[in-house]
Symmetry: C2
Subunit: 285 residues, 2 copies
């Protein structure tokens, strides 16, 4: 199945998050039943990234946004690990530093966009500047609207320079978040991650959903679309994102580049090197 | 087996590369026989990197150097892929740009050293500045010797700030290089990588070996050791590097950090959130 069509936020349309069930797994019954498909898409992702790297003509930027415990880290650990680390860079955006705050909000993200041949993954992104800032009323509605336009323009310029952009909102339910918080509390390998903000931000859940709806509706474009991924089931989230990224790359019709050398001359060099090696062996032996 | 002891360049001793057989696989018979061990070390590497990331107190810098086709890319693709991409950054150093050339030779590498909690992988490194430059007589013996000391001082300062350093020379034979060149020639997915320099540089093989021997002998220190990895067999190279990196990290005795919040208070927050969720459900239902 092509989850792009199912989960895209159609450009120009108003998104209603209530229409997406976070526990949805579409045509897939269970992780066990989907194991072959998961492995197939994982392999496709690896192959397509190798090709992107080889071709060297374009970049791919993957933006991940979610509520706390929504699965951004898990997506990176599972989906992005399929790719060769030489072609991937992950950028994690936390509360801005004083230096970052002294610049426009796109400055720090612009510095981290992937160069051609690379996949860049943003764990949080410039979208925080129209989400958390809006929920906590640090910016007013006019500023927020202006930023939507600035973001669209910024992403359009990236696209025009050869950077493909795929943006994912990992959609979990309030109940699922609470269940994951409970797991964190009990797991000594993970409870160091807990912050008080987990619970204080949770109180703003509905405000966040409103902010996400507005932001995603305003910034899902043909060239930089948003997808709302049902993410209560981690395995389905990983499957859907793998499929969307892998098939998007496949549809670009990339080709392995032609050698930039004359292969006949190189074959000649090769045979000369073989003869030289034989001679060296004889001299040594 | 602990390959650290077998393959380390002992600090203060003069390395003779001729003493290492590039086709060596020590106690391992074949890839098939070693499959379980390879998987075990791969898993240890993944676990240890997760712990490094969680602890957040130190960094790990892995330097890879080799002749062309020596397996730097393959090592990254196989060994480093075991780790979570969020905690790994790979830097590939090519011929310096004009901006880089306008600085001291350590400038561009210093910018790419890993921050605490991260693993940084250097595909080529500051060592090119005492290898290729020396082979092609771009620097004289005194400059080269001065750079050895500058490198030791630089790496010592990194170590003192919590950056552990492991340096690997992937040692292949001239015959193996030629065999790999032949494979590249015939594989359309790889022949775009071919450069004429592959063959011109090969003519300087013995000079390179001399340069490597000198550089590794002069810069293998207790805190930033060099290892000469027999690399004709890719599976053995991957196994040995996984073991060395994984066990070095394990020996650091890292611990998951304690939560920086009061877990009792968080448990209270959690139960309050559960009650709030129940209330919300009732109001909606």
């Amino acid at each position: 199945m092509d989850y792009r069509k199912k989960f895209i936020v159609p450009p120009g349309k108003k998104l209603r998050l209530a229409d997406t069930d976070p526990a949805d797994t579409r045509d897939q019954k269970s992780e066990a039943d989907s194991a072959d498909l998961i492995e197939r898409y994982r392999q496709k992702l690896a192959d397509m990234q190798t090709l992107l790297y080889a071709e060297g003509k374009r970049a791919l930027l993957i933006v991940l946004q979610a509520m706390d415990a929504g699965g951004k880290d898990g997506t990176i650990s599972h989906v992005m690990r399929a790719m060769n680390p030489q072609g991937v860079s992950v950028s994690r955006f936390e509360a801005p530093t004083p230096e970052e705050q002294a610049h426009d909000f796109l400055w720090r993200v612009h510095m981290r966009v992937p160069r051609r041949s690379q996949v860049g993954v943003f764990n949080r992104s410039h979208y925080e500047d129209v989400l958390i800032t809006r929920v906590h009323k640090e910016i007013d509605a006019d500023t927020c609207k202006a930023r939507y336009e600035q973001i669209r323009d910024f992403e359009a310029e990236l696209f025009d320079s050869g950077t493909h952009i795929l943006k994912f909102f990992l959609h979990i339910s309030e109940e699922e978040q609470l269940a994951r918080f409970a797991q964190r509390l009990e797991d000594p390998h993970r409870n160091w991650k807990i912050s008080e903000a987990d619970y204080t931000e949770r109180a703003f859940w509905d405000d966040y959903m409103d902010a996400y709806q507005d932001a995603l509706s305003a910034t899902s474009t043909r060239d930089a679309p948003w997808f709302v991924i049902p993410s209560n089931h981690k395995w389905f989230r990983n499957l859907a994102i793998s499929q969307i990224v892998g098939d998007t790359l496949e549809d670009l019709g990339m080709k392995y580049p032609k050698p930039h050398v004359d292969l006949d001359k190189i074959r000649h060099d090769y045979h000369a090197a073989v003869a030289e090696a034989d001679g060296k062996k004889k001299r040594k032996g």
